[in-house]
């Protein structure tokens, strides 16, 4: 059961990830990304991470992608221009970089599987809110606070850029 559901979710994720970058209409791109996030949420749920699955959809599909759509509609972009060809060096470097990232991910997954702290289907209690909350506010407190600081800086920066012209 678990491998079948995983295979379906992974297949859907990959197919719609390709649609996300290949289709000409920006709205279809965003919608495909919604489907990708749903497939990822399904994989999280398979791992027993119900909480992450829900957060994935609430934050990404429910908020961030809606903002994407807002921008697309505000600028009224009906179709995406194809980037000009003639930058073969760029394309080549891009392909090499992608292959490198793929290879290192493969190595990391196959060789460096952690012996402790790894997450397998059913290895955690379901509805993992309490463990995640505890980890965020104890073990990873510094990283957590640092990210909030980063976000505040981003907000302040955005407000500054938006206000500057009115003075």
């Amino acid at each position: 059961m678990v491998p079948i559901v995983f295979a379906i979710a992974a297949f859907v994720a990959v197919v719609f990830a390709i649609v996300t970058i290949a289709h000409r209409s920006p709205v279809i791109n965003v919608l495909s990304l919604v489907v990708v996030f749903f497939a990822m949420a399904a994989i999280f749920a398979l791992l027993g991470m119900d909480f992450l699955a829900a957060i994935q959809i609430i934050v990404y599909s429910g908020a961030i992608l809606v903002l994407f759509l807002f921008v697309i509609m505000l600028l009224n972009i009906r179709s995406v221009e194809r980037l000009g060809s003639g930058r073969r060096m760029q394309a080549l470097l891009g392909a090499v970089a992608a292959a490198g990232i793929g290879a290192s991910a493969l190595i990391a997954v196959s060789l460096l599987t952690p012996t402790s702290g790894a997450v397998y289907p059913g290895s955690l209690e379901t509805g993992t809110v309490a463990p995640i909350g505890r980890a965020l506010l104890t073990t990873h407190l510094f990283a957590f606070e640092f990210i909030t600081l980063l976000l505040v800086a981003a907000i302040v920066g955005a407000v500054y850029l938006a206000r500057r012209e009115h003075r």
């Binding site: 209409s25 709205v27 279809i28 919608l31 919604v34 949420a41 119900d50 909480f51 699955a53 829900a54 957060i55 959809i57 609430i58 599909s61 429910g62 908020a63 809606v66 903002l67 759509l69 807002f70 509609m73 505000l74 009224n76 379901t126 509805g127 809110v129």
Partner: protein
């Protein structure tokens, strides 16, 4: 195994039937109540008190020509109403609508009057699915290839993102108080009374949270005073302008089902769900179970009427007022509620 599936199937059928029946009833209530408030009669020709008016309206909508204008993006134009209705109908499975206290059906435990009793993330599931509702509006606005529809879609996206924050933060206080995401536990936490008089409903210690949640619920369901995406005075009919026949009806039904789910959430989170504070229904078996469902339905009906009441009482906001309210009033107030609950819990008051 099969009995278990059958029990879930029955619960699902009951919930779906109830949600879909709410729509014609609410249409009738809306029209008659608005007439009452404006000193008119309202529809009173079809059936006793005009009760069959929604049936006739449904027949009219089904038999109307289903028009798809030229130059729309067909796929998205058809997808939008499908999303609207599907999303609205799928949120209710995590809402507990009655107290079973160990009842059995066909020799199998009912496991609570809730379609999905094992869904530990409870309220988060509802937020996750409900957060997709805005796609229906945005896609309808975009695909219609009409500037009024587009404005409706843009407004809907900005409005939803703004009010979703306040809505989520105002729920955090409730979840902290009941120490669970599961709505069954949220309801259980609210049973009983303080000093034998005051029900232990969350609305009393968390009045600010209850108010911000209700206001945000109005905004999320696009009801007046927050129906800016539709705003017939400015945008013809907003994102609905190009829709006719059953596609229009799907949006319409979606809106009413959303109202029902929002009312159910207000009931469960802040007004004690299916509990009555002074009575314990657990002893009465199936009768008690059905009574608890009746109590839940009564509370939800009150909030559904409240939606109608507000709609025919208040005027619509201007868009800048809407945004200012969302970011400068609602979010600070909901954070205040969440701080108060945290301090009260730390001090041992709650």
């Amino acid at each position: 195994m099969w009995v278990e599936l059958l029990v879930i199937g029955i619960k699902l059928a009951v919930v779906l039937a109830a949600l879909l029946t709410t729509v014609p009833i609410m249409v009738w209530v809306e029209r008659r109540a608005s007439a009452l408030m404006q000193d008119r009669l309202g529809p009173n020709r079809v059936g006793p008190f005009g009760l069959f008016q929604p049936v006739v309206d449904a027949v009219k909508l089904i038999t109307k020509e289903d028009l798809i204008p030229a130059n729309v993006s067909r796929f998205l134009f058809i997808l939008a109403p499908v999303v609207a209705l599907t999303v609205a109908l799928s949120t209710f499975i995590a809402v507990p609508f009655g107290n079973d206290s160990g009842l059995e059906l066909f020799g199998h435990a009912v496991r609570g009057f809730i379609v999905a009793p094992d869904l530990n993330i409870g309220i988060l599931y509802i937020f996750a699915i409900a957060s997709l509702a805005v796609y229906a509006t945005v896609l309808a606005g975009w695909s219609s290839n009409n500037k009024y529809s587009l404005y409706g879609g843009i407004r809907a996206s900005a409005q939803t993102v703004s009010y979703e924050l306040a809505m989520t933060i105002s729920v955090v206080g409730v979840l902290m108080a009941s120490e669970s995401l599961h709505l069954d536990q949220v309801v259980a936490h609210q049973s009983g009374t303080w000093l034998w008089v005051l029900p232990r409903w969350n609305v009393f210690p968390q009045l600010i949270g209850a108010i911000t949640f209700m206001v945000a619920a109005f905004a999320e369901t696009n009801r007046i005073p927050f129906d800016l995406p539709e705003a017939e005075a400015e945008l013809v009919s907003g994102y609905l302008t190009e829709y006719s026949s059953m596609k229009y009806a799907a949006f319409f039904m979606g809106e009413y089902v959303h109202m029902t789910v929002a009312s159910a959430l207000i009931t469960v989170l802040f007004f004690g769900g299916w509990t009555l504070p002074w009575v314990d229904l657990a002893f009465a078996g199936w009768l008690g179970g059905l009574l608890s469902i009746a109590i839940f339905v009564a509370k939800v009906s009150f909030f559904l009427f409240f939606f109608v009441w507000v709609r025919w009482t208040l005027p619509r906001f201007r868009f800048d007022q809407l945004m200012a309210l969302g970011w400068k009033v609602m979010i600070p107030l909901s954070v205040l509620n969440f701080l108060w609950v945290g301090i009260a819990m730390a001090a041992g008051i709650l």
